[in-house]
């Protein structure tokens, strides 16, 4: 009996970190999702140890003492692992540092989208009334804003920076998360156990955090992991269109650089394929993880 | 007596699940006389739907025939080639599902769904199909002009009538109705049952009516079979089974129902829960909940025995039925089990 009691309200408290970790409910049951998580880990490690992995400063223009640019080196040539760009920068180092921007953009965007969307959804769904009305009208507006054009316009005003993508996502893309979570909250709110919590005197705050939030967290993570991919793809598109930040090495700017330098014509596959692959891998990883969450959320899909 | 239209013998159906194979129906036997309504009762999960669906041979992907036969007019439905089975479906054997809302395709008008069956399965031309559809609607008491409506435009009771009309469309010999009134209010339920009775009598249909409500059985059925944990434990004509049950489970079931008139006596629950079908107990499956269980019950499965006429039961103490019935009427008999099964 006493030990059963320990397992009880403790399960509801138990430290924020622990609760978050449990809230994460990493989709470890699904092999594809695990594969996605492994890709994440790989890229996170690369980003963390970028300084050790990179062989050069990714933006340094490399030239020989007699003023010959070390440009267009093929992989392996002169010790450049993936060769150099036609402006004389080391591709391998750029790729390695690119993972940092990707991680930065991806994670912050994911956190923004998930956090804002979740808060909006929770507040609108649970409290309803005019708060809901205002928030949902804002969501309507956000749904009316074409995203990529918005990022373009935004980058034109602010200094070119990878944060523009994050900012735009925070300003616009919470809408999907917000709406889905709101409708989820609306349905959770009428669940008998939420009603039961009210009958037994739980405050709104307690109900939201104890009974509702834990059930929508996986949904937030689902949207968060999709947002990672979106952010990275958007950053790449923006860079490709020339609105990127030239001082920050990202896979998008690398692709743009390659494209502007006609890597296609010169068949410099070693230049434009790796960043493309990295983008695809990370984005696919996001999809796989989000599918893992989907199966947690809607287990009927499995059967 | 009358001829038997359906003879189910030792039927077993198994589901593949994560933990292994579960026999949802495990050696069930049942004879359905032609032109009667046979009730199939039992608590949730005892395999009623599984049995009923098996007769159509449209089963979930993880289901498998694990033995037995179902002879329909002499032919074994379980081994019939698929093409031939498909010819039988709906023309000979029709089905009324529990939830008519979900069983009607929401995107087609009900008239279209009737026509699909009449034309596609009945081979009628469109004009005849139209006339027949109107006739069917008349039979179940819905105005023919509502053929043009969509399912969601009907109330629950009317949908159930539509489902009955659909089942009767091709003049089948056997109608299997899986809990056709469970989700309905009492008044509507009564109206549907009246309708069903009237049609059955008028058309001379044979009906298998699946339900968990003994009152419904008492109201419409000629015969009844009681299922427990995948097996038919008692069968016979309604009056006999309900007034002189021979199996302790049936006795318990009858005691658990509140009556509207008569003494406001105490209801008696059957303590405990049905067995886990993945690992059913040896011997009689009801033994763990049975206040009359003896050692033999726990060791050996009782055979189905005839008590008289068509009354059958599977119980080791069938000879003492009379005495047991008397004991079963007392609350204490069952309450004593509460401690044992918990």
């Amino acid at each position: 009996m006493p030990e059963a009691m320990d397992a009880s309200p403790g399960a509801a408290a138990g430290g924020l970190a622990g609760r978050l970790w449990r809230g994460l409910r990493l989709p470890l049951g699904d092999p594809l999702a695990v594969f996605g998580l492994m890709i994440y880990v790989l890229f996170i490690l690369t980003a963390v140890f970028a300084d050790q992995l990179a062989t050069h400063d990714p933006t340094e223009i490399l030239y020989t003492p007699d003023y010959d640019l070390a440009a267009d080196r093929r992989p392996g040539e002169d010790g450049y692992i993936l060769g150099t760009t036609s402006l004389g920068r080391d591709i391998w180092s750029q790729l390695v540092y690119g993972s940092r921007s990707a991680l930065l953009i991806g994670l912050t965007a994911a956190v923004m989208v998930a956090l804002i969307g979740t808060l909006v959804g929770l507040v609108a769904g649970y409290f309803g009334g005019w708060v809901d009305a205002v928030l949902m009208r804002l969501a309507d507006i956000a749904f009316g804003i074409p995203f990529l054009p918005f990022v373009i316009v935004l980058s034109a005003f602010l200094e070119p920076s990878i944060w523009n993508v994050v900012l735009a996502m925070a300003l616009v893309l919470w809408r999907d998360t917000g709406r889905v979570i709101r409708s989820q909250v609306l349905s959770l709110r009428t669940r008998a156990y939420v009603e039961a919590a009210r009958v037994c005197g739980s405050s709104d705050l307690k109900i939201v955090f104890r009974h509702i939030a834990p059930n929508i967290l996986p949904l937030s993570f689902l949207y968060g992991s999709i947002a990672i991919g979106w952010a990275i793809l958007t950053e790449a598109s923006i860079s490709f269109l020339g609105f990127g930040d030239p001082d920050t090495i990202s896979w998008g700017t690398m692709l743009q650089d390659a494209y502007a330098s006609q890597a296609l014509s010169t068949r410099a596959f070693h230049w434009f394929v790796p960043p493309g692959l990295c983008i695809i891998l990370v984005v696919v990883a996001g999809f796989l993880v989000s599918r893992g969450y989907e199966e947690i959320l809607f287990p009927k899909l499995k059967e | 007596m009358t001829e038997t239209i359906l003879d189910i013998r030792d039927l077993a159906i198994a589901y593949r699940v994560a933990q292994g194979e579960m026999r949802a129906v495990d050696g069930a036997s049942l004879a359905v006389p032609a032109g009667t309504i046979t009730g199939l009762v039992g608590e949730s999960g005892c395999g009623k739907t599984t049995l009923a669906r098996a007769l159509t041979r449209v089963m979930p992907g993880n289901a498998r025939l694990a033995g037995g036969q179902a002879l329909f007019a002499g032919r074994d439905l379980m081994t019939l080639p698929e093409a031939e089975m498909n010819r039988l479906r709906w023309r000979e054997i029709a089905f009324v599902p529990q939830s008519a809302m979900n069983s009607l395709d929401p995107v087609y008008r009900v008239g279209t769904q009737l026509r699909e069956v009449l034309v596609g399965r009945g081979g009628m031309d469109r004009r005849r199909a139209r006339a027949r559809a109107e006739e069917l609607f008349g039979m179940v008491g819905i105005e023919p002009r509502r053929l043009g409506d969509y399912p969601h435009q009907f109330s629950g009771g009317m949908r159930q009538r539509v489902a009955i009309a659909l089942a009767l469309a091709l003049g089948p010999r056997l109608v299997i109705a899986d809990e056709p009134v469970t989700a309905l209010d009492v008044i509507v339920q009564r109206q549907i049952l009246d309708q069903l009775l009237e049609l059955q009598k008028g058309l001379g249909l044979s009906v298998i009516l699946v339900t968990h409500d003994i009152s419904v059985v008492a109201y419409v059925c000629d015969r009844v079979a009681v299922m427990y944990a995948g097996q038919v434990v008692e069968a016979g004509d309604v009056r006999t089974v309900l007034t002189r049950p021979a199996h302790p489970y049936t006795m318990g079931l009858c005691n658990a129902f509140p009556h509207l008139d008569g003494a406001r006596g105490v209801l008696t629950p059957i303590e405990g829960a049905p067995p886990d079908l993945l690992a059913p107990p040896p011997g009689c499956r009801f033994a763990p909940r049975c206040p009359f269980a003896v050692d033999a019950c726990r060791r050996q499965a009782p055979p189905v025995q005839a008590i008289g006429g068509t009354h059958l039961a599977a119980c080791h103490r069938i000879a003492e039925a009379e005495a047991l019935r008397a004991r079963a009427a007392r609350v204490e008999t069952w309450a004593a089990m509460a401690e044992t099964v918990a």
């Binding site: 933006t59 340094e60 223009i61 030239y63 003023y67 010959d68 640019l69 440009a71 036609s86 402006l87 004389g88 034109a156 200094e159 070119p160 020339g242 990127g244 930040d245 030239p246 001082d247 743009q256 650089d257 494209y259 502007a260 330098s261 006609q262 296609l264 014509s265 010169t266 | -």
Partner: protein
């Protein structure tokens, strides 16, 4: 005082890869002198806003002057870029001010005697070389290509300082086979097709072909007769031209001297502000039959190049009502896009599809009718696609190649059907110092920075060798005006350090400091 962090503005890599690249290199080198240099990237519009309109707010900027035929005369560059009178508002955005230089620049513009003027132009180049108001980098080589299986290479004209993409080529280029359309590309959109509006660079290719001018700058860089048969200076301020007979507008009406007068007056009126500077010197225009006499306010050596070879001849019967209408409204002629532009040039307008193509056809009735049938300009926004289209035959004249010239040359070598021609340009690239602002007010400091960077490195690293190192704003492509004495400026970090220390600058703790007693004062 320690020298503050200096900011070098450049355009983004996507827009200007070589500029971006040389800015990076230069900053990388200057840091070795003990300076803090930050490269700031901004798009052209923002850069223009800062540099033109906030003249005391910036330190240094990468800049570019493009080669236009009328810049074949050195006057525009010498006077406008560095004369102190244009410092407040005009082209002298660097704020260079030197009375000696002003005198020389004024003198050359009035001097009608070629030889004497040449000496003055040389003198001006030498003063600039000594003062280094800007850090001259290179005259790039403009590189174009065409399909030599379609066009006869002998019929392609290479205009000095401009390259093979020029008026003369388009008029004379000769098809070898059945493909008789010039299909060329541009990476910029066409803004308008308007003889009274100097819009985008690409637009001028079209206006040049559709509208004739009295004179045209020849492949040799000198003005030659065109719609005017000849010209004659009757006094230092008066010039008479005779119209070539038999010219007609594309709509069939004859071209008269009245039309010519109308064209110049249209530019002098308020409705075509961008042409106004070119006709500001005209005091009067008199018409006498086929002869038109221009009376100038003051002598001008560059009048032929910058005015007579510049103003488009427009039909009075088309434009007179238009201009009268515009005079009553806020819009000016720049907003008037003719549905069917009418000129008298060797090509006639056919169609314009936004962001896609402009089609002109040969004006067979022209006295100098082109050999090709049509001139089709395709808008291809990026180099990769342009090159691919050239190789696959979807275009046959590569008129705009923002990409890496080396890739083009390699591609041509591999292909065999393509001919690539590169020509040293009139235009040039440089880094402008803001002369108004410390520490750039000190010529020694400017000289030191300028000599710190090897131009060879710039040529190789930023231009892939497709540029000529330069220390003069007058291109070597104009041999008559270019002063060879200023070429070959010595460079090197050691030299730069020497200049700095001679001028009193000191290195303290690895950072460069002003000479003793000099304090940094900025008028913000």
């Amino acid at each position: 005082d320690r020298i503050r962090e200096l900011k070098l503005i450049t355009r983004p890599q996507a827009a200007q890869p070589s500029e971006f690249q040389f800015a990076q290199i230069i900053a990388q080198e200057w840091r070795k002198l003990g300076l803090d240099v930050k490269v700031e990237v901004m798009p052209w519009e923002q850069m223009a806003d800062v540099v033109w309109y906030n003249r005391d707010k910036w330190d240094m900027t990468a800049w570019q002057m493009v080669g236009r035929p009328e810049r074949s005369d050195p006057d525009e560059l010498l006077y406008n870029l560095y004369h102190s009178s244009t410092s407040a508002k005009g082209y002298n955005f660097v704020g260079y001010s030197n009375p000696d230089y002003d005198r020389v620049a004024e003198a050359q513009r009035r001097e009608v005697d070629q030889e004497k003027r040449r000496a003055l132009v040389f003198r001006a180049q030498e003063i600039l070389a000594a003062d280094q108001p800007v850090m001259m980098l290179v005259h790039p080589r403009s590189t174009f290509a065409f399909d030599k299986t379609v066009w006869d290479p002998a019929s392609v004209v290479n205009q000095g300082g401009i390259g093979i993409k020029n008026f003369w080529t388009f008029v004379s280029i000769r098809p070898l086979g059945g493909q008789r359309d010039i299909v060329l590309n541009s990476s910029d959109n066409v803004q308008g097709i308007n003889p009274l509006w100097i819009s985008g660079g690409t637009d001028s290719w079209i206006t040049e072909l559709v509208w004739d001018r009295l004179l045209r700058i020849g492949p040799d860089g000198l003005p030659r007769p065109w719609a005017a048969e000849n010209w004659e200076w009757t006094s230092p301020t008066s010039i008479t031209v005779t119209l070539r007979p038999g010219q007609v507008w594309h709509d069939g009406k004859p071209l008269t001297a009245e039309d010519v007068r109308f064209s110049f007056e249209a530019a002098m009126g308020g409705e075509a502000p961008m042409y106004a500077p070119f006709v500001r010197n005209i005091a009067a225009i008199d018409v006498d039959g086929d002869r038109i006499t221009f009376t100038l306010k003051e002598p001008s050596a560059a009048f032929l190049t910058s005015t007579l070879a510049k103003i488009n001849l427009i039909p009075k019967h088309v434009w007179e009502p238009v201009l009268a209408d515009l005079a009553t409204r806020e819009e000016n002629a720049e907003s008037h896009q003719e549905k069917m532009p009418i000129g008298s040039g060797p090509f006639r307008f056919v169609s314009w599809t936004t962001n896609e193509e402009v089609v002109l056809e040969a004006n067979r009735g022209h006295w100098s009718a082109p050999a090709a049938d049509r001139w089709i300009l395709r808008i291809v926004p990026n180099a990769e696609a342009a090159l691919g289209m050239l190789r696959s035959g979807q275009i046959n004249f590569l008129a705009d190649f923002p990409g890496d010239p080396k890739v083009l040359v390699d591609a041509a070598a591999a292909d065999g059907d393509l001919e690539v021609v590169s020509t040293t340009d009139i235009g040039f690239r440089y880094v402008a110092f803001n002369n108004r602002r410390a520490p750039f007010g000190d010529p020694a400091f400017r000289r030191a920075l300028s000599s710190a960077v090897s131009r060879e490195l710039i040529v190789k690293a930023a231009f892939k060798g497709f540029a000529e190192p330069s220390n003069s704003i007058v291109s070597p492509a104009l041999p008559f005006w270019h002063d060879p004495a200023v070429d070959n400026m010595p460079t090197g970090l050691d030299l730069a350090r020497q200049i700095l220390s001679e001028a009193g600058y000191e290195l303290v703790g690895g950072k460069l400091h002003y000479p003793d007693g000099v304090r940094e004062t900025l008028a913000e």
